[in-house]
């Protein structure tokens, strides 16, 4: 993998990770708020 492709991969991974973490946090918050 070239350094250009490497940095693009890291940026993509970061973006996907942020979206997923926000989604999981929202689902977790829903569980935390309403599940006794």
């Amino acid at each position: 993998m070239t350094s250009d492709a490497g940095s693009r991969f890291r940026r993509t991974l970061l973006r996907v990770a942020i979206v997923q973490i926000v989604t999981l946090l929202l689902l977790g918050y829903l569980q935390y708020l309403f599940t006794p």
């Binding site: 993509t12 996907v16 997923q20 999981l24 689902l27 829903l30 569980q31 708020l33 309403f34």
Partner: protein, 536 residues
């Protein structure tokens, strides 16, 4: 159902078929028919990839699962975003750059014809049967709810899909998928809005009810190999499954091979990475809200009307007594649930099979509660979801048949015109095969289950072969023997340790193939074929 709903369903089917046929331009050559001349934009491919895996089972089975088990199924998809990113930098550039028609064709270039033919054969067997199961699931539900013969229901779903796939090839499949995805998401949102409007309690109170019934529990962090859906099985087993499904299954690979460029192919997969988990959460939330609805409003004692009719006929007095008890326990959901269990027990005694009506919860809710027009929209969306999945699979079955078998073993230099005729014939053949399997789904139930189980034996193992293809030192003998030993190991694990959840089979299969394949490769010497990286 109101006639206007049927007008909407029929209208949608006519529109979809005509739209698919209009999109058949440029399909007079094999590359146009199978790969849309590698011209599709990333967003259309991305929507099509999502549409192919969102079948009618998702619309009626997964939503029903949301009602009965809550949100925990979403953990199944936790590995998907990571898998998409990994594929974006590994298999996608190899496969797209190799200018192949099928993923298995690439294996011959890297290894040998035997490995290609075996993987393509395994794909044909499992996909042909699963295609039948995809048609059968909604057809059986429609047949029970509307009282039609199963044949008619199978034809209603199968014939339009076969028609536009046969005429328009992958181009028609993709553009129809795009349109139908909007319909499907719209129908799901319509159900959510209807439930919220019709609920006599606030949305906050609805969530409190769902939470108390454990329907909002998403995460299970226990590391238990026997539990199907946990955070870890989703993250680890799910990653391997998604790598295998999106990276090596022709029904998915064909989509991104049709993209304009490697970057467009990559972006199409990232579309799923961003949207799959939120979409799946929406699907399950539909079920959770319908569960709450039936906690505060009267629910049918049995959701499957066909089974209910049979039970009333066989046990008229007992069922009537049970119904009186059920109706008088309106304010006590737990007692009602127990009485429902007794009714399901009666159904089980009658049919001799475990009685489950999870697939009937959402269709019954839709027909009984959605306003005129929206109910038709939802039924059209269920058919659309089934057609999306079938059309993608028929296309890939036809491609593998023609490219990996006919062109490879029978007639390597067949003219384009003949290949095109055979491709269309193969599409129709597999379509009819799937419809026949679907029609006999009830009697073939255990056979389909065996084939699906068999499918889980080799999913991870095929991924292992593709991983080997990217390792320079791996050779053809290592790949072929590794594949056989990988599948056998998963079969053995399934036989000796049946409680190990199926998601872990993918990890076991892939790891065994890579380890055994490398071991044999080192023992038998370097491959004469070139490594994958130098060909991409």
């Amino acid at each position: 159902m109101h006639p206007l709903n049927w007008v909407i369903v029929i209208g949608w089917l006519v529109y979809v078929v005509s739209h698919g046929i209009r999109r058949s331009k440029g399909t007079d050559k094999i590359e146009g028919y199978f790969l849309a001349n590698r011209s599709l934009p990333w967003w259309a491919v991305g929507l099509s990839v999502m549409a192919t895996q969102l079948s009618a089972v998702t619309m009626i089975g997964t939503t029903g699962q949301g009602a009965t088990d809550g949100m925990k199924f979403v953990q199944f998809y936790f590995g998907l975003p990571l898998a998409m990113v990994i594929l974006g930098v590994t298999l996608v550039p190899f496969l797209h750059g190799a200018r192949v028609y099928t993923a298995y064709e690439y294996l011959e270039r890297r290894f040998d014809p035997a490995t290609r033919s075996l993987t393509a054969f395994l794909f044909l067997v499992s996909r042909a049967m699963s295609c039948g199961a995809i048609i059968a699931a909604p057809a059986v539900v429609f047949s029970a709810i509307f009282g039609w013969s199963l044949w008619w229901c199978v034809a209603l779903i199968g014939v339009p899909a076969i028609l536009y796939t046969m005429v328009g090839g992958v181009q028609a499949v993709t553009w129809v998928d795009v349109k139908q995805m909007f319909l499907i998401v719209g129908a799901l949102i319509a159900v959510v809005v209807t439930v919220i409007v019709k609920l006599p309690v606030s949305l906050h109170d609805a969530f409190v009810i769902a939470g108390h019934a454990q329907r909002l529990r998403v995460f299970d962090f226990s590391f238990d190999l026997t539990k199907t859906y946990t955070f870890w099985s989703g993250m680890i087993g799910g990653t391997f499954l998604m790598l295998s499904y999106f990276g090596t299954d022709q029904s998915q690979v064909q989509r991104y091979l049709a993209a304009k460029s490697v970057d467009e192919a990559r972006n199409s997969l990232l579309f799923s990475a961003y949207w799959k988990i939120p979409l799946q959460a929406l699907v399950l939330l539909v079920g959770v809200l319908v569960f709450v609805f039936y906690q505060v409003k009267p629910a049918p004692m049995l959701f499957n009307p066909a089974v209910e009719r049979q039970v009333i006929k066989a046990y008229p007095v007992e069922y009537a007594e049970l119904k009186v008890r059920y109706d008088s326990a309106a304010s006590f959901p737990f007692i009602r649930e127990s009485i429902r269990g007794e009714a399901l027990g009666m159904a089980q005694r009658l049919t001799g099979e475990p009685a489950k009506d999870v697939n009937y919860i959402i269709p019954r809710f839709v027909i009984d509660n959605l306003p005129i027009g929206l109910a038709g929209l939802f039924i059209a969306a269920v058919i659309a979801a089934a057609m999306n999945a079938i059309s993608g699979e028929l296309m890939s079955l036809s491609t593998a048949t023609v490219i990996d078998f006919y062109k490879r073993w029978i007639s390597a230099d067949a003219p384009e015109e003949r290949l095109l005729v055979i491709s269309r014939a193969a599409t129709v053949f597999w379509g009819i095969f799937a419809c026949v399997v679907a029609t006999y789904a009830v009697s073939l139930g255990s056979l389909i289950e065996v084939v699906n189980r068999f499918g889980s034996f080799f999913y991870g193992s095929i991924l292992g072969v593709f991983l080997l293809a990217m390792i320079k030192r791996a050779n053809a003998r290592g790949a072929f023997i590794g594949l056989i030993i990988g599948m056998a190991t998963v079969g053995l694990v399934n036989w000796r340790l049946p409680k190990v959840a199926f998601l872990w089979h993918n990890v076991i299969g892939a790891v065994v193939v890579v380890v055994v394949g490398m071991l044999i490769s080192y023992l038998t010497g370097p491959s004469r074929a070139q490594p994958a990286s130098s060909r991409a």
